[in-house]
C-alpha cells in the first residue's frame, strides 16, 4: 500500500469532523512525505494504534489555533493553551478523528481489527517528534483559524 492510502482515511475524517463539530471548511490541502522527524507548530496530539496496522496519528496546529478551536467547540473563551479545556478539546478532536478513520479502515478491510491508544497532548515552543524507521506523510489543511496539519505513520508503510 502507498503512504497516501494510509493518510487518506485520516484526511477525510479530519475534514468531516472539522466541518461537523466546528463548522470549519478546509480552504486548501496539500500532502507531503516526511522523514522520521516532525516539527510541531506548537500544539500536538498523539494517538497510537495497533492491530492489523501499527502506527500513530498526529493532529498538529499552533497554540493560537488550538485556543480558537477549543472556543468553537465549547463556546467559552480561553487565554492560554495550558487551560485544561483547550488540552482536552485537542485530545477529544484527535480521538474522534482517529476513531472515525479507523472505523472506516476496519469496515473496508475486515480482519484488521485496529484499536486506538488514549490520546496524549503536548504544547510549547520547539517541540519535535521522532519515530525510528517509520516514515510518515502529512496533510496540511488551510482553514480560517490557521493551518491544521495531520501526520500518519504506519509500520511497514512505504
Amino acid at each position: 500500500m502507498s503512504k497516501d492510502s494510509y493518510l487518506s482515511p485520516f484526511s477525510l475524517a479530519t475534514s468531516d469532523v472539522l466541518k461537523e463539530m466546528l463548522d470549519i471548511n478546509i480552504d486548501g490541502s496539500e500532502t507531503a512525505s516526511e522523514g522520521d522527524l516532525f516539527v510541531s507548530q506548537g500544539f500536538i496530539v498523539v494517538v497510537g494504534f495497533t492491530g492489523g496496522w501499527k502506527g500513530r496519528f498526529f493532529l498538529d496546529m499552533s497554540s493560537e489555533t488550538a485556543i480558537q478551536m477549543a472556543s468553537l467547540l465549547t463556546g467559552d473563551d480561553y487565554d492560554s493553551v495550558g487551560d485544561e479545556d483547550v488540552i482536552m478539546s485537542g485530545a477529544e478532536l484527535a480521538n474522534i478523528i482517529s476513531g472515525n478513520a479507523i472505523t472506516d479502515i476496519n469496515n473496508s478491510q475486515p480482519g484488521l481489527n485496529i484499536r486506538l491508544t488514549p490520546p496524549s497532548v503536548f504544547a510549547g515552543d520547539g517541540i519535535s517528534m521522532f519515530n525510528v524507521r517509520l516514515s510518515s506523510s502529512s496533510a496540511l489543511m488551510q482553514t480560517n483559524i490557521g493551518t491544521i496539519k495531520i501526520n500518519v505513520a504506519v509500520e511497514g508503510g512505504k
Binding site: E20, G99, N100
Partner: protein, 129 residues
C-alpha cells in the same frame, strides 16, 4: 422543546463519557431543548455505581473508557434494569463493535461527531418504542 413530554415533564438523561469535552457537547446539544442531564459519569464503573441512584430515561454511553468500557457498563445496567434505554455514542464504531453493542441489548448507536438533531431524534425514537 423536544426534550419535554406532552405533560411538560423533562426527559432525563445520564451522560457517560471519559472526555469532559464530550459531556459538555452532549449538554450543549440537549439542554436547550429541555432535556435534563440527571447524572454524569467518566467511566463505566462510575456509571454502574451512579445508575441506581438516579432515574434516567436514556443513558448515552461512550465505548472506549478507562476502568470499565461502555459495552460492559451497558451489560451491567441492563442486568439491573433490562428495560433501560441506552444509546451508544462513540467515535469508534466498526461493524464488530456495533454487533457487540447490539448483542448486549444497546438500543441504538450514534456516531461521534453527532449533530444535535441526530441524537435528539434517536432519543425520542427509542422512547417511543
Amino acid at each position: 422543546m423536544k426534550g419535554l413530554r406532552a405533560d411538560g415533564t423533562a426527559i432525563r438523561i445520564m451522560a457517560v463519557d471519559d472526555s469532559p469535552i464530550s459531556r459538555k457537547m452532549i449538554k450543549k446539544a440537549l439542554e436547550p431543548e429541555g432535556f435534563v442531564i440527571v447524572g454524569e459519569a467518566a467511566n463505566g464503573k462510575e456509571a454502574v455505581e451512579l445508575y441506581p441512584t438516579i432515574q434516567a430515561d436514556v443513558v448515552t454511553m461512550d465505548v472506549t473508557m478507562p476502568v470499565m468500557d461502555g459495552l460492559d457498563a451497558a451489560s451491567a445496567i441492563k442486568n439491573i434494569n433490562s428495560k433501560q434505554k441506552i444509546i451508544m455514542l462513540s467515535a469508534m464504531g466498526d461493524d464488530d463493535i456495533i454487533k457487540d453493542a447490539k448483542s448486549r441489548g444497546i438500543d441504538d448507536v450514534c456516531a461521534k461527531p453527532f449533530k444535535p438533531d441526530e441524537i435528539i431524534g434517536k432519543i425520542i425514537r427509542i422512547l417511543e418504542n
